[in-house]
Each structure stands twice: as C-alpha cells, then as structure tokens.
Amino acid sequence: MFRLKNMRKTTKNNLITFGIVIGFYVVIQILSAMGLLTSSLSGQLVPICAYVILAISLNLTVGILGELSLGHAGFMSVGAFSGTIIWTVLYGQVPNWLGLVLSFVVGGVVAGLFGFIVGVPVLRLSGDYLAIVTLAFGEIVKNVMNACYLGYDSTGLHISFKDAASMNMDPSGTTLINGAMGITGIKKASTFTIGIVLVILTLLVILNLINSRAGRAIESIRDNEIAARSVGINITKYKLMAFITSAVFAGIAGVLYSLNYSSLVAKKFDYNTSILILVFVVLGGIGNIRGSVIAAALLTVLPELLRAVNDYRMLIYAIVLIVVMIFSQSPQVVAWRKRVMDGFRSRFNPSKAKEVQ
C-alpha cells in the first residue's frame, strides 16, 4: 500500500487500465467456465477487442497528436486485406501459430507503410484539411479494394481492376480477392485470448510512447506547434511517428477483426466505420486512453443489448450518445458534477473538505 502511494500518478493510472483489461478477461473466462456466457456475448468478444485497439490507436492521433483523422477504417482495411491474404495463402503450409503471427505482422507493417505514404504529404496539413484528406484516403482504399481482383496460379500473381475474367488465370488458379465479393472462405482464427493479448500489447506500446520523451514531444506539438518548433523539436518526425504507430495498430486490429469472420468485404471499412471509431474516442475522452477502452467496449455491446426494444434501438443508441456527451463534456454539467462530488466529499470526510477550503 505504501509503495502504491508513492508511485507516480501516470504509472498508477496505467496500471489501473491494464487491471481493467485483465479483469475483464478473467471475468469472461470465469463466466465461460461456469457456462453463463451467452452466444450473443461470446460472439462479440473479438470485435470488442478489435474496436478497443482501434480506439486506442486513433486516440494517439486525435488525442495526443491533436490531428483529426477520418480515415482510420482505411488503415484497418489495408491491414485486414493483407493479413488475411497471408493467412489464407499460408494456411496448412506452416504451423497455424506461425501463420497467425505472420499475418498480424504483415497486416501491421502494410498498414504502417500506408500510414507513411499518406502521412508524409498529409501531415504538412492540419486541422480541417487533414481531416478531409484522411477521409478521402479511406474512400480511395474502399473503392480500390472493391474493384480489385487478385489471384495466383502457376505463373504467378494476377491482378485486375475490371472483372474476374480479365485476370487471365489458369482454370486451376486460386482467386484471393474477388472484387466486391472480397475474400471468402476465410478459416477463422481470432479468439478472445488473442484479442486480449493484442489489446495489452497495444496498450503497452502506446502508453509507453505517450509517457516517453517522444510522447512529450508529440504532446508539445499538439499544444503549440510554433513553440515546439522554436525549441528544436523535429515536427515532421514526431508527427509521422504518432501517425504511423496509429496506422500499424489499426492494421493489426483489422486482421484481428477479419479473421473472426469467414468473409471480408471492403464495403465494411467505409466512412461510417471511421466515424464509429472516432465516436469511441470522443466519448471516452480525447487523449484519455482508458476512456477509449471503456467507451469502445460499451458502445459495441450496447446496440446488441438493445435488441429487445427492436425498432427503438437506434433511437435509444443515439440518445445515449447525446446524454453521455452532455454529461462528460458540457461545461455546466461538468461544473454541476464537481459541486455534487464536493458535496459528497465534505459530507463523508469533513476534515479533508476543510483542508481544501
């Protein structure tokens, strides 16, 4: 207890975040062992993990770097497609764990590469302009993947952007991406355990980055770019660092997500998905990593809990979003919350209240 008190505040905070994730895992495992876990909830565990990773990684761009990105689903998409292709091609040829690790690595690296390609020209922009360009990036990825036909036969890879026939493959060839049909017949591989391991990995990397020297440099760019430049911080380098890290984890989340289903289509990764992830970040609190984790998990489960009220589902979902937003962001409500909390504090702990006064 003594050591906990002397611990640095950020370390303590981060430990609580890890504690929540591990606690969630343990609770689910216990429920599952007791047979209390519904199919409905167990089916959502992997998507929850994927959305949590996406929210954490987007929070790095939006909350820590302070740039609005509306193309996060684009990175998720390129990661998902590249990782899934690796998984499908390697399936049965290498041990499953190796194929899985490779597909996550490839998904992350490819998404990171796209992060770099997009980031170099785009990070010269900021604010609204950056938002528009990232939005366009997401749409470009969606449309290109939608029109993309990829297959391989004995003579090598074939690609076409017109239709399946113009790939000119041998009849014995295998189609990997079938245009708007995407990838079908994926062997499912994602499990809740893999998801939680990846969430913890993401938290480790991103929390350490935030609390490092580089992280402080990134935050200084957010707070005042001119001042940061004047003290000699390499703006482009640190912006790219945050942007690419964010893209890599979006790619990994994409692989985790796609390997949970037997088919993958580009249409899923559209503007709406980008916005959904942004909603997780904003509701959880911009720059607040633990908030993103909780918001992503709750808002993924919420629409399913509301199935009971059927037609009013989306209405209630929207109202909840608005209420939470007002409750956590509106200045008046924040002030009111503070008054109530102070009231509680003075009632239960008069000595401390006096100290504050």
């Binding site: 519904t38 409905s40 029109a147 708007a180 088919s263 909840v320």
Partner: protein, 403 residues
C-alpha cells in the same frame, strides 16, 4: 429545472439499459442451461404434447436494404401464421432479427437467435452477411435455408446451407441463353454495379455465357454504389455503341433511373433484368409506362394465375396492405418447405438443431416442393435449387408471361 430533467432522463436511460441487460442475461442463462441442444422448454409445448419448432430469421429491417428484409420478414410471418392457424396449434415460432445488411451485425443476430433456442435458420436475406453467417452455421451444424442470398459462395460454404432463390451465376447463364435462343438482340449493352456482389456475380457469368453463345456484347458499363446518382453517362454509352438490348443485372432502384435517363434521350432498346428488377412497378413516383416492354427473369409474379400464388398474394395484401415482391414469396416458400418436412414426419420440435439439420439435409435433397416461386422445385446436394426460370414482360403496368 433543466438539470433535473436531464438527470431524470439519464437515470431513466440507465434503468432501461439495466432492464435490457437483465432480460438478455436471463434468456442466455436458460439457453446455456439446456446447453444448446434439445431446446424444448416446457411452457412452450402444445396441448397435444408436441413442441413448436423455433425458426430464426435474419435480414435488414433497417438501413439501405430494408425493403428486402421487411419483405422476407413479412413473408415468413405470414406463412407461420397460416400454418399455425391451419394446424390449430403452434407448429412454428418465428423470431426475426435485424442485421442492417452488415456481416458483423448479422453474426450478432445469429448468436442472439441461438441463445433464444433457434432450430432452423431461414436467412439471411442479403449475400454479404450470409457468407459470414453460413460459416458459423456450418461450424454449428445448424440447418440454413436462405430465401434470397443468391451468391454461389453461400451454398458452397457447407452441405447444410440451401438456397430458395437462383444463384447469381445461374441467372446470368439463363439470361444469356434466353436472349440467344429468342434472338432478342444482336448488339448487347450491359450496365452493372461493380461494387455489388450480386451484380458482379450475374455479370461475370453472363459475359462468359454470352461469348459461348455467340452474342455480341458491344459495351459493358459499370457504376458503383458511391456514384449511382446519375446514370445517364452509362445509358449514353450504350446508345453510342448501338446496343439494341441492354442487360441490367442490378436492383430496381438504379434500373428505374436508367429507364428515366433512356427515355429522356429517346433511346428505346429492349431492357432485360434479373430478379433484382422485381419491385420496379412499386416505386413511388415512378412512371410505370417507362417500364413498358421491360423483360425480367424472375421466379415469381404477383399477377400469376395459379392457385398457390393467388392465395399467397391475396393473404399478403390483406395482412400488409401491399403487393408482395419476390423476396416475400421466397421467404413464404421457405417456411412451407420446412413445413413439408414436418408433415413428412422427419422433424419435430423435440429434436436438437443438429439432429434436425441432418434430417432436413436428407429431406431437402430428396423431396419435391411446389410453391409460389415454381412447381416441382428440387435441391441438389450442393444446396442450389432447381426450378424452371420464368421470364416476364411488363405490359400495361403489370407482369405478363413472355412468349
């Protein structure tokens, strides 16, 4: 005062959420207690001791594809109500879940239905979500009969997945054969949606078969779901290429725009569509005279004169105050096909969904079914349906059988 109201609203919200969560949990624990098999619950059985069979339906009842999901839901509900009323007991229970035409939501809906104790899945309505759900249904050995997911990959997922509708490639091939056989056009133009699996599936097979039959495809114009607000360019290109027949393997909303655009420039080829075209006469504000002469390959017509169709159409109109489209007819047939198996005595409500799946697999590959979408329907072992295709032509705002 404002604060008070917002606080009250917020607490009401929390309470309602808690209530929802609680019901979800209790459903789940009861399903978990029976560990998935033999979902026979005492309170649901009939007076004569038989247990109702739980049918699950999945489809988009909200969102862009809602018209199809709602049609299927209503078709299934109508059939279930009719069967239960005729039998004088609860033969089927139906629960229909929304998937918003999204694979992830569809999986969630499937899992929710499993918690409820579903024994047969009559879905899903659209192809993309179907692919994901089919994968899971194969893992679980849950019998899946989709009314309208026509992508060929759906049935290829496993041997317990069956289709009530034609597959996309099948429609493309039959269309090309029909056009070649009847000599409907010498120069053929195609307008298709390259971002849509349904449209691409038909187009690819059509292009192949057309080449094999010696049809001349002079132009193939694509659009995507993002740029379909103006399709006059595609129409103009078909006109420039001199196409005298334009093949439209697309849904009726886009097709109606093409008809309007063609009418504006005075271009009058023969238009030929597939089952997605069904519904074009019901679009609000669309001048149906523009559709005069439009041909479509479709297994169902609300104006057909046979007894089964007439009975279905009048019951549907009485119940929902609208004319059924092909999706509703397919869904209606799905329930009756399962009912035929019940009457044959091969399945009953006390079976686990896995045993039921095995029984239905044998039954479906051997039986012959007569329904609103065709007489003498049979299923191949791969799950595809075999029924005679029908071609209709629009005349005076109604379908008529083409010569």
């Amino acid at each position: 005062m404002k604060k008070l109201i917002s606080a009250a609203l917020a607490s009401a919200m929390v309470l309602s959420l808690a209530a929802c969560g609680a019901t979800g949990d209790s459903n789940g624990s009861s399903a978990a207690a029976s560990t998935g098999d033999a979902a026979a619950t005492a309170e649901a059985s009939n007076a004569d001791g038989s247990t109702p069979i739980k049918l699950g339906g999945i489809g988009p009842t909200t969102g862009s594809a809602a018209s199809y999901g709602i049609a299927v839901m209503q078709g299934e509900q109508l059939a279930v109500d009719e069967i239960n009323a005729a039998a004088g007991k609860t033969v089927f229970e139906l629960k229909f879940e929304d998937d918003e035409h999204d694979a992830e939501k569809s999986m969630n809906a499937y899992n929710t239905l499993k918690d409820w104790g579903m024994q047969v899945l009559l879905g899903t309505v659209t192809s993309t979500p179907s692919l994901s759900v089919a994968g899971e249904a194969v893992n679980d050995n849950m019998f899946m009969l989709t009314p309208s997911a026509s992508a060929v990959d759906v049935v290829e997922t496993g041997d317990n997945v069956f289709q009530m509708c034609f597959t996309d490639p099948n429609q493309g091939i039959v269309s090309a054969d029909y056009i070649a056989e009847k000599g409907l056009g010498t120069k053929i133009g195609v307008i298709y949606d390259s971002s849509d699996a349904y449209s691409m599936g038909i187009y690819n097979a059509f292009a192949e078969e057309a080449a094999a039959k010696g049809l001349e495809v002079v132009t193939a114009e694509a659009f995507t779901s993002d740029n379909k607000s103006d399709l006059s360019t595609q129409v103009a290109k078909c006109q420039d290429a001199g196409a005298d027949l334009v093949f439209l393997p697309i849904y009726y909303n886009e097709a109606s725009q093409i008809l309007i655009a063609a009418d504006k420039v005075g271009y009058k080829p023969t238009f030929f569509g597939c089952d997605g075209m069904d519904g074009i006469l019901t679009i609000e504000g669309f001048d149906t005279s523009l559709a005069e002469g439009l041909m479509l390959l479709c297994p169902f017509s609300a104006t057909a004169t046979d007894e089964t169709t007439q009975k279905f159409v009048s019951a549907y109109e009485a119940a929902y105050n609208e004319t059924p489209i092909q999706f509703a007819a397919d869904a209606y047939d799905c329930v009756y096909a399962i009912y035929q198996c019940v009457q044959n005595g091969s399945i009953n409500g006390d079976m686990s969904f896995s045993d039921m799946c095995e029984a239905l697999k044998t039954e479906f590959t051997t039986m012959t079914f007569n329904g609103t979408t065709g007489e003498g329907q049979t299923w191949a072992a791969d799950g595809t349906v075999n029924k005679p295709p029908r071609v209709y032509v629009v005349h005076d705002g109604a379908y008529q059988t083409a010569e």
